[in-house]
């Protein structure tokens, strides 16, 4: 492996993701050790973006498995196309084909529906497999996933064992709504994605919002940093910051200090509950702005 973490950070930046140093190291290690990477952090800090940027960087496909309560094998790995199978059986009924050949035909590749996990190990070029919000899936599924992530093979009773043609780069994300098992945690590399520092957030803004002035970006980022320290019900994430920056830019703000009214009115972009809106009054906004501008 010739890449260094600085290179990775640089390439990630080109792919549109401003990574901190630890994350670049972690991504480097996933390639080196062949372990999945578990990303934890508050909602809206850009965990999913990491996988997307990684796929862009490696110039490969991103296969995404969104987890939810009740996710099972048939949604995650494979399923037979039952409707087509029934039709095929009915169509062959009159022809006098023998049972064995019908069975063989019906349980062939043609009738197999690939779901994300199976698809990801059958690609020619190793894809990036994003298993999003693993904490929403059931514990049974987690155990099952663990098995796939260690062997990279899937057994289909009617078809045999499918071994990986390429080992995908796996990124798991978790919002911490449920405690994950120690076994899964141990299997994975771990990175905690924190809210970005003002400097990094400003750089993210600059890369995401066209035509944004560097000074304004830094002001917005610093104000967001202060805002996150307030006692809020729903702490705004990076996506909100980007929205807000775009809104301020669109409304022609050049300097936050000079546009206090505008700042207060556009806070709807970042504060998404009634309590938060009520808590951040004009005075609070002025106080926060006073520290920034």
């Amino acid at each position: 492996m010739t890449q260094t973490k600085d290179q990775i950070a640089l390439e990630l930046a080109e792919a549109g993701y401003i990574a901190d140093e630890g994350l670049a190291t972690a991504l480097l290690l996933t390639g080196m050790l062949g372990r999945p990477l578990l990303l934890e952090g508050e909602a809206g800090v850009g965990k999913t973006e990491v996988a997307k940027a990684l796929a862009r960087l490696e110039k490969t496909d991103l296969i995404r498995l969104q987890c939810y309560e009740g996710l099972d094998r048939s949604d995650a790995i494979y399923e037979w196309n039952y409707q087509r199978q029934l039709l095929a059986i009915k169509a062959r009924e009159g022809t006098g084909a023998d049972a064995n050949s019908v069975e063989e035909a019906v349980f062939s590749e043609k009738y197999l529906l690939e779901r994300p996990l199976l698809a990801s190990i059958r690609q020619v070029k190793p894809p990036v497999l994003l298993i999003d919000e693993i904490d929403r899936a059931d514990e049974e599924f987690e155990a099952f996933l663990l098995e796939i992530l260690s062997d990279y093979q899937v057994s289909i009773p009617e078809l045999g064992t499918v071994t990986a043609t390429s080992i995908p780069r796996v990124v798991l994300t978790s919002n911490g709504t449920r405690e994950l098992s120690d076994a899964l945690r141990r299997r994975c590399l771990y990175h905690y994605v924190d809210y970005p520092t003002p400097d990094r957030e400003a750089r993210i803004l600059l890369s995401r919002v066209d035509g944004l002035d560097a000074a304004l970006a830094l002001q917005i980022a610093e104000l967001m940093g202060k805002l996150r320290k307030e006692d809020l019900v729903k702490v705004p994430g990076v996506a909100e910051t980007i929205d807000w920056a775009a809104a301020l830019l669109g409304l022609g703000a050049k300097d936050l200090g000079a546009n206090r009214e505008l700042v207060f009115e556009t806070l709807a972009c970042v504060l998404k509950t009634r309590e938060d809106r009520a808590r951040v009054t004009k005075d609070v906004t002025d106080r926060l702005l006073g520290k920034v501008a």
Partner: protein
């Protein structure tokens, strides 16, 4: 800072291997879950040219060895202490260390309840025959787990003086908690008809009819088990009950797949991880270490506020029942408690408040804290004896 001898060695030398093993050991002592595979990977990393600087090595090891946020936050200190000889001593043992003097531990409270007999036995009128009845409580007389030897079931926990009877009450409390889980799950599985066709099974069943799908099999959303979040008051006024409630909570946590426990007095402590220990004695030891200061005052309002702010989003979902075990004596302003209860109410499905004093004759919940909390409580029930705990189960099963 001495440079690690990385550049000079092709293989990592025996010294470095030993150092690495020591580091892994110190991580395990600090509660990290590190296996052989991780150590092997760490050795690979040490050999690789990527990690020539300690800072780079630290970042790489951090990703490899950490599994959760709490690990993540402690790792840098542990790393610096071990490899660079800086700062705090490495590795804080969770088990086995003795608590500081002067602090009451849960374990002491549990033991103390039994020992009280020697000191103040004369103060409380003992119910005649209680001990005898309790001790000939043979297994055949018990209904499954939840059923309690008749007398012991109705005795207020604070009146149980005999250590044996008390131990029995503790065991029963734990068994009661276990049996709750059995019944709840049994009820969950019975529902089998659903809105969607289960084609996989339908076709499997069609074999019996020569391939014509006559028996249709349905599937529907599986019913999720109730999640219990328990907030246990461990303040001085609850001393008589803390021991037995702790056992009850331990039983619940050991058996409910989804349960979380918090303990509060003047502050809130998340004790689930300590109570996940199978052995009751060791679990109580670990919990005692986490929850220093048991037996002091109570700040229910502040504890709830902490809970709402830091834990609620994670541990509460739409099928969560929050169970508060407290006598409602609060040194905070009642407005805080009321507001926090309202916030909690919006998040969860049910709030059950168990108040041991409700079982006393002539008790009225007139304290200002209790008054503020009551409008937000779905079930306000006594919890002074085993029968009252057992009475909860049907209520929980209905949720």
């Amino acid at each position: 800072m001495t440079a690690l001898p990385l550049e000079t060695h092709e293989d990592i030398g025996a010294v470095l291997r030993l150092r690495l093993a020591g580091f892994v050991r110190s991580l395990r002592d600090s509660g990290f879950k590190v296996g052989l595979a991780e150590t092997g990977d760490a050795a690979t990393l040490l050999m690789s040219p990527l990690v020539q600087r300690p800072a780079a090595l630290r970042a790489a090891f951090r990703s490899l060895f950490c599994g959760r946020l709490s690990d993540w936050q402690r790792f840098d200190d542990l790393f610096d202490a071990y490899w660079l000889g800086r700062g705090v001593k490495s590795g804080v043992k969770v088990t086995g260390t003795s608590p500081k003097k002067g602090m009451k531990t849960i374990r002491e409270l549990v033991d103390a309840q039994g020992a009280r007999q020697d000191t103040i036995a004369g103060d409380v009128d003992r119910r005649p025959g209680e001990e005898d009845e309790a001790s000939d409580d043979t297994p055949s007389r018990r209904r499954e787990g939840a059923s309690i030897a008749d007398n012991l079931g109705q005795v207020d926990f604070r009146d149980i003086q005999d250590p044996d009877a008390l131990k029995k009450a503790h065991d029963l409390a734990e068994r009661l908690a276990r049996s709750m889980r059995v019944r709840l799950t049994r009820r969950d599985r019975q529902k089998r008809k659903g809105p969607r066709l289960d084609l996989r099974r339908t076709i499997r069943h069609s074999i019996a009819h020569g391939g014509t799908p006559i028996d249709l099999v349905h599937k529907g959303p599986r019913e999720r088990q109730l999640r219990l979040v328990i907030l246990l008051d461990a303040s001085g006024s609850m001393n008589n009950y803390t021991g037995v409630f702790t056992r009850f909570v331990h039983g619940i946590l050991d058996n409910f797949r989804e349960a979380e426990a918090f303990l509060f007095h003047t502050r809130l402590v998340h004790v689930s991880s300590a109570l996940s220990e199978r052995d009751a004695g060791r679990a109580l030891d670990r919990m005692g270490l986490m929850a220093q200061g048991v037996g002091g005052g109570t700040k229910i309002g502040e504890a709830l506020s902490d809970f709402n702010r830091w834990h609620a989003a994670r541990v509460i979902h739409s099928r969560t029942c929050v169970m508060i075990l407290s006598d409602g004596y609060d040194t905070c302003a009642p407005e805080i408690l009321g507001a926090e209860m309202a916030r909690l109410r919006r998040r969860c499905r049910r709030i059950v408040w168990l108040n041991p004093m409700l079982g006393w004759d002539g008790y009225e919940p007139v304290t200002s804290g209790m008054q503020a909390a009551l409008p937000h409580v779905d079930l306000f029930a006594p919890a002074h004896n085993l029968d009252s705990l057992a009475a909860l189960e049907p209520y929980l099963a209905r949720l």
